[in-house]
Symmetry: C2
Subunit: 296 residues, 2 copies
């Protein structure tokens, strides 16, 4: 981290001050690997893009946002590879995403916000998702919970896998194996379905770790509808510390990821790689932190 920060100072020094002098020759694309409507239903993206745009605007660099699923990579790939863009900030790349593969081979400056899928070599910034999972598991263990389930994120997304691995491996160290895992896609409805699946599988569940706050809020709502009390009967921990974590009833215990700092750091490192050709490779990881509120 210190290494990254000191180099960021270098970027700031070289960039036009106060954003007055625009680098008119450079443009950046932010590519979100999701269907279009997810920009509006997943608050993570609004936070990421707004924070990244603030950094770019401060450096006088205009940007465009693109969404690109596997099916629409044909739209996003050509301008990125053909030189229409001087740098790409890639968000939420999944396994075998054609665009991530193309970008890795293109030689264009890219920074992935989130560890890229296995086998794809891209400079990146990551959150310590694994340690976030660990903290959630330890909190349940310390609270005496013993019938524990998970509502995980999409298995093709590295951040999802890391949250799940850190959680499950910590429980395994305490001798708990065979933890039931429902897979969701971070949406409210997938949180409801995941919780219903866990309840069928495990009617006496006493703790649930959900890989996003939106899914955790859905789990709380579903548990209450079946007459269960949160946290008395079932403890719930989310992931994000999004604004919704303060609005659930009870308020949500969750793993905070520093989204704005994450976006800003990834953007600054991208800018750095656009101005200096021969940098040592550096993939910083930001810490996550359990925030204890009422739900667990």
């Amino acid at each position: 981290m210190h290494d990254a920060i000191s180099r960021l100072g270098y970027v700031r020094h070289r960039a036009p001050r106060g954003g007055a002098g625009r680098r008119s020759d450079q443009v950046v694309a932010i590519v979100v690997c999701e269907p279009a409507h997810r920009l509006f239903t997943e608050p993570f993206y609004a936070r990421m893009i707004t924070a990244a745009e603030e950094v770019l605007t401060g450096h006088g660099v205009p940007l465009a946002v693109m969404t690109a699923t596997a099916a629409t990579s044909t739209i996003a790939a050509p301008p990125l590879v053909a030189g229409g863009v001087d740098g790409v900030l890639l968000i939420s790349a999944r396994d075998r995403h054609p665009l991530a593969v193309t970008l890795a081979a293109s030689g264009i400056p890219v920074r992935s916000a989130g560890r890229p899928p296995d086998g794809i070599d891209l400079p990146h910034v990551d959150m310590d998702n694994r340690d976030g999972g660990r903290q959630a598991a330890e909190h349940f263990l310390l609270g005496g919970r013993r019938a524990i389930g998970v509502i995980a994120g999409p298995p093709g997304l590295p951040a999802s896998r890391d949250r799940l691995d850190g959680f499950v491996q910590t429980l395994a160290l305490a001798g708990m194996t065979g933890v039931p895992v429902a897979y969701g896609d971070f949406t409210h409805s997938s949180g409801v379905h995941g919780m219903q699946w866990l309840l069928r599988r495990m009617p006496h569940v006493d703790a649930v770790f959900a890989a996003s706050d939106v899914m955790a809020a859905a789990a709380i709502q579903t548990l209450r509808r079946t007459g269960r009390r949160v946290p008395d009967d079932v403890a719930v921990i989310g992931f994000d510390d999004a604004p919704i974590a303060r609005r659930t009833s009870p308020t949500l215990t969750t793993v905070r990821q520093p989204v704005e700092e994450f976006a800003a750091l990834a953007t600054r490192l991208l800018l750095l790689s656009m101005t200096s050709a021969d940098l040592p490779r550096n993939n910083p990881m930001l810490p996550t932190e359990l925030v204890v509120r009422e739900s667990a």
Copy 2:
């Protein structure tokens, strides 16, 4: 309109039923001519994109969203023109937007949601913004208001100009000229500044027409902070009928534009032009309607 609808029936007939059979050979881009963060701060875009995606998904056509300001048109233009995309839905194109010019010359199927800027010839769908302005002006006149100001949208956006023209011309027919106009950019802060400007210019203002609900809500807040009562001292009319119109205090009288219907119609006409080469030109216009609540 009837002509447009009957042709839509034809599209539906030819499209795969229930979205099961994807047209794997076609992709569509939605291009929003705005800085990236505006996707999240202007609710109009979430409504437009979500509605358009629903239509496309129903036809099995994947889409990507792009934002493109004048400065970032270099990102968006190449894939659109080079054949990476089979159709473009263009939203909120401003005067002299380089991308709108490029698209008009490209021969690729394009549908502009909103009348394109003067001098750019693109098939489009429009709202009757001018008539919305007329309805707002008549409501003020019927209510006996005589010291009337406007917080308009960006003058480079055709929809803004039409709202303003319809409003000002209706007042002129009643013998009211020289109506003061503050220009905003649809944001809350520009609504505050616009209202403050009007109050300095016209301390005894008794009615304000704002070109968006977000700006109207800002105007109400600003008026109340100066001790003025809405609508007793100053009547306020907005434009959109966005969800915020029901949450202001007092609730907002506003000109409703049918956003979802608008996006769906534009998308269906775009799909039609992608499948049938030689269609007669048709640029339908959807009606707007004054919704009277408490603020005027």
